[in-house]
């Protein structure tokens, strides 16, 4: 109840400077609203100008970094192919060219690696799903003809340092994906039967490990027919 009465018992402090009660605040000269607005508008304009200039300088560099990082990761998971080709997955088919006007970075992309004889080795692709704390972005390479994986690399994660982030740092876990067969099955560390579909999950990072396995399985499920169809079409 009392807080409803508060405004009436308060002194009229809300009134602008220049009121009847003499105190230190009111001794200040009155500043015109136009000057306040002008000052803030000036600072806003200056800030905008500085940011636009900075953006123009940094944007190409940022895009270049991202492209290089992706290229490096593609080469890493495809085990250093002689060359790679980028495809867009459009309407259940692989296309080498993006539709006119489309943002190529926003499209669903896969990268096909070729060996020294210029024969296709496998596809590298990214996918992200929820991990323990945030989205986990994974890139992996996969041969749809044999169903075997070449390798896996976690590109982005915010998993718990020291526990969940072992999906990046635990070399035994990372290398277990090399040669594993899709669909992957996560098993408790040490409880596996030696089946090639099995991946030992990391103790203390079960949710993060399972997330990586699910990401790869779901992505393969999603594009496997498209990739198979493309490779079969190329051979015939």
């Amino acid at each position: 109840m009392s807080h409803h009465e508060l405004p009436t018992v308060l002194p009229p402090a809300a009134e602008p400077a220049g009121g009847a009660e003499p105190n230190a605040v009111q001794a200040l000269p009155e500043v015109k609203s136009s000057r306040l607005i002008g000052t803030l508008a000036g600072f806003g304009g200056l800030a905008g100008l500085i940011l636009v200039l900075a953006f123009q300088w940094t944007d190409p560099l940022i895009k270049k970094n991202q492209a290089e990082a992706l290229q490096g990761a593609v080469a890493e998971v495809l085990k250093n192919p002689v060359r790679t080709q980028r495809f867009f997955v459009i309407d259940g088919r692989l296309a080498t060219e993006a539709p006119a006007g489309a943002d190529t970075l926003a499209l669903d992309r896969v990268f096909l690696g070729y060996d020294a004889q210029d024969a296709p080795t496998g596809f590298a692709m990214t996918h992200s799903e929820a991990g323990f704390q945030d989205q986990v972005l994974v890139i992996f390479a996969y041969d749809p003809r044999t169903g075997s994986l070449f390798g896996m690399k976690v590109l982005e994660n915010k998993e718990t340092p020291g526990l969940g982030d072992k999906i990046v740092k635990d070399s035994a876990f990372v290398s277990a994906f090399e040669g594993a067969l899709a669909p992957l099955i996560g098993v408790k560390a040490g409880a596996g039967t030696g089946d090639e579909h099995e991946i030992d999950m990391i103790t203390g990072a079960t949710i993060s490990s399972r997330a990586v396995i699910n990401i790869i399985n779901h992505r393969i499920e999603q594009v496997d027919p498209v990739l198979k169809a493309y490779l079969e079409g190329e051979q015939s």
């Binding site: 200040l28 500043v31 000057r35 306040l36 000052t39 803030l40 600072f43 806003g44 200056l46 800030a47 500085i50 940011l51 900075a54 953006f55 300088w57 940094t58 560099l61 940022i62 970094n65 991202q66 990082a69 982005e156 915010k158 718990t160 340092p161 020291g162 526990l163």
Partner: protein, 225 residues
């Protein structure tokens, strides 16, 4: 009139005696959150130092043109501009560090060390002194982050800047790079600093038993609310 303060004093007070993190306990959010590796601590400290120096300089230059009624808005606008600049620059030049620091770069805007120095110092002092003060406070922040992240990475990962220094038989204390480790480390440092200050003031009392006030108390206008 205030008595003349030597330039050295403006610079050095923030680094040790009035260290923003270890003495004033300001800016604790980044000090706890991004100090899980030395590289992150150094990058965050340098980013904050850059923003602090640039905004102190600009605000001290422009202080006459900023009406008191809108000063906080104007300061935040200036600080946010520099933070965005630092954010874009880090993303362009050192993407790995930028990725590791994540959202905390953007949160430099609300680091109370920065706004505190503008309100308490840069808006009232000449440009030269404001820049020295910012360098000192930013340096002190960097020092505190390095002290914290060094200990946390060493114990929590057995490495320093990614180089293994504890040998292959060391079992990392994983908790030190998790959030509780930040609190343990900061608490230990605060304990040591407060013990050291208490000891020094006792020693001073023994040396000058009749001294009434400590000449080393900060000027009232330099105490951040």
């Amino acid at each position: 009139m205030r008595k003349q303060v030597p330039a050295r004093e403006d610079l050095l007070k923030g680094i040790w005696r009035e260290n923003p993190v270890l003495v004033q306990t300001l800016g604790l959010c980044p000090a706890l959150a991004v100090t899980n590796s030395l590289a992150n601590g150094i990058a965050m400290g340098l980013a904050t130092l850059a923003v602090l120096v640039a905004s102190s300089f600009l605000i001290s230059v422009l202080k006459r043109y900023i009406p008191g009624e809108v000063r906080i808005t104007a300061y935040i606008l200036i600080i946010a501009t520099f933070v965005t600049l630092v954010d874009m620059t880090l993303q362009a030049l050192v993407p790995d560090i930028h990725k590791a620091l994540g959202a905390f770069i953007a949160l430099i805007v609300v680091n109370c060390v920065i706004l505190g120095r503008q309100e308490a110092f840069a808006s009232k002092n000449p440009v030269g002194r404001s820049v020295l003060d910012a360098l000192g406070m930013g340096g002190g922040f960097l020092l505190a982050l390095v002290m914290m992240s060094g200990v946390r990475e060493l114990l929590g990962n057995g490495t320093l800047l990614g180089v293994n220094v504890m040998g292959p038989n060391f079992e990392p204390w994983v908790i030190m790079i998790l959030p509780p480790g930040g609190f343990f480390t900061l608490g230990t440092y605060l304990l040591v600093f407060s013990w050291w200050r208490g000891r020094r003031s006792k020693a001073r009392k023994r040396a000058w038993p009749h001294e009434v006030t400590s000449p080393r108390l900060p000027e009232p206008e330099e105490v951040v609310a």
